[in-house]
């Protein structure tokens, strides 16, 4: 799950980037309104963590621009002003959730997972496909009740595929979900991870759609 962090405070931004990375998210972090708008225009994110007070403008401007462009990416607002009125105005601007500073890192992660779940149209926290069960909160995967150990990247690919069963993901889309901007993408990394996933969970789990990409398969 790829998350954009927009926060101008260096220490907090770094903490969120590293902390959410530890919680299994792929993170990109920017400090200004300008770079946030550029990032949102360029990449596809599963969620945005947005600070309201930015040096070159307000986070609410970023949010408004995003919604005006009919982009439904879930947005979690972070702000120091957490009166009821502030919360109401934040949510009315099109934010999906709201957290007052200082917050708990685990809570940010949990709320981001909830936002992603809701935007995918699911109401339960667990994602199931045939005998596979994925728990985003614990980053754990079970096959027919037995825990299966996956690497972070393998888990990310499985999570992406299971979030939208039936949808076809191109290799580029999956790479997007795996890597932040600063990370070097290995050329055949996605193929390698998918190979490992098939080995661990069954060869029929992921189907290759020739020339387009991958999707979940029904024959496990």
């Amino acid at each position: 799950m790829r998350v954009l962090i927009v926060e101008d405070d260096d220490i907090l931004r770094d903490g969120l980037k590293v902390g959410l990375g530890l919680a299994g998210f792929t993170t990109d972090a920017v400090a200004t309104r300008e770079s946030a708008e550029a990032a949102l225009a360029a990449g596809s994110f599963d969620a945005v963590v947005l600070d309201l007070m930015l040096p070159d403008g307000s986070g609410s401007d970023v949010l408004k621009k995003l919604r005006d462009a009919r982009n439904d990416t879930p947005v979690l607002l972070l702000t120091a002003r957490d009166t009821v009125a502030d919360r109401v105005s934040g949510l009315d601007m099109g934010a999906d959730d709201y957290l007052g500073k200082p917050f708990d890192l685990d809570e940010v992660a949990a709320r981001l997972r909830a936002l992603a779940r809701r935007s995918a149209g699911r109401s339960t926290a667990l994602i199931e496909w045939a005998t596979i069960r994925l728990d985003p909160a614990r980053q754990s995967v079970e096959k027919a009740g037995t825990p299966v150990r996956l690497s972070r990247r393998e888990y990310s690919i499985l999570h992406a595929l299971m979030s939208q069963p039936g949808a076809i993901f191109s290799k580029a889309t999956l790479e997007d979900k795996l890597y932040g901007w600063q990370e070097e993408v290995e050329s055949n990394a996605v193929e390698v991870h998918i190979h490992h996933l098939r080995n661990k969970l069954g060869p029929g789990l992921i189907e290759t759609v020739r020339g387009i990409g991958y999707r979940l398969g029904s024959d496990i």
């Binding site: 220490i11 590293v18 902390g19 530890l22 702000t79 200082p102």
Partner: protein
Amino acid sequence: MRSIRARLFFILLVTTGLMWLSATLWIFFSTRAEVEQVLDARLMEAAKMVSSLVVNQEIDPDRPAQTKAKIPILDHPHYDRQLSCQIWSLDGTLIGKSESAPETTLSAHATGLSETVINGETWRVYAVENAELGVRVLVGDNLRIRDRLVNDVVKGLLFPALLIIPLLATLIWLSVGRGLAPLRKLAGDLAARDASDLHPIKETATPSEISPVLRALNGLFGRVAGARQREQNFIAFAAHELRTPLAGLKTQAQVALASNDAEIREKALGQIVAGVDRTGRLVRQLLDIASVEASETTRAAAEVNPGDMLVSLRNELLGHAGGAATVLVDPGLFHLRIRINPDLLRLAARNLMENALHHSPAGGTILCTLEKDDAAATIAIDDDGPGIPPEEMPHVTERFFRGRFKAAIGSGLGLSIAELALHHADAALELRNRAKGGLSARIVLPKDLIV
């Protein structure tokens, strides 16, 4: 007397009473004079009349005195026997007298007006001598009766006054109370106000006497509301600026707790240390602002050597601000003496120098120079950092404003503290970009601060 109502009541009552009294006195004296004049004229007339009767032989001067000729006098129920008449022969025999007239002669004067005391009573007498018949006619008034007449007139004035004064007092009391009603209403409105209600009081329909008070009050309300608004903005900003680094500290701490990777943990702890430094500085600056704003005159002005002050600041800041820049202080600054609150000047200079250090590139030079002209002496602190973009210039002294070239440790408070402190010390802050790049932060000291 504290109460306006009681005071007005007292003044009005006393002045009305005095007016009444003086009117009464005036009427008393003028009535007395008038009555005297009229009655004297009557005396003369009556004397002449009696004399003429004697001339017409209606009264025979040769008749014996015992018969006592009846002289007709005007009767009045209250002032009966007002006039008394005596007719004397020139040799001193009483020929005739009216009923009320005493037996002794009313006047020793031959002719004209005179006053005589007979049996303890004063008589006003007019005498006419008729040489032809050898008689002297005396017509007199008892002054007691005259006085009674005047007194009756005055009593006629005073009795209604005594009745009216309580009525008047009541009316004055009530109308003064009514006249003061707008004040009471204003007081009531103010008393009923909520502490947070700083809306101006409507000036329509207030009497012109209260308007200045009202305008002054509204002015005060305006200033208090402005101060409160600034305070609220400050609190909102301070909340943001304090909570953000706290959130950063907490997040980094949680990262350190959650990670098994020594490298990540070490980096997170390093970030926590930096964050505590920054937050500590922010707290110090917030306290500086609060103390400058709260205590304008805690410490009086003293003579300051700005050169010494800048050097001691440099030594202090280079210790922990960690700047790799060199700070040079113009020798002219050591010869300048200024009278200023030393704490405020030091606070301003400290923030400006910190700012310069944070924005200077490694190996840069910070120049503290002195410029003097007729109006002022200017201490300039010049750095070779990025300067301030022109479009940000108007905002840099706003609290918590952080521009494009913000320093990592910056809080957005430094320049606003410098400006505030200098303003309180009667000096001014001037910021301009240097021609060769960098910022020139200038402390402008007006001539009268220079010793």
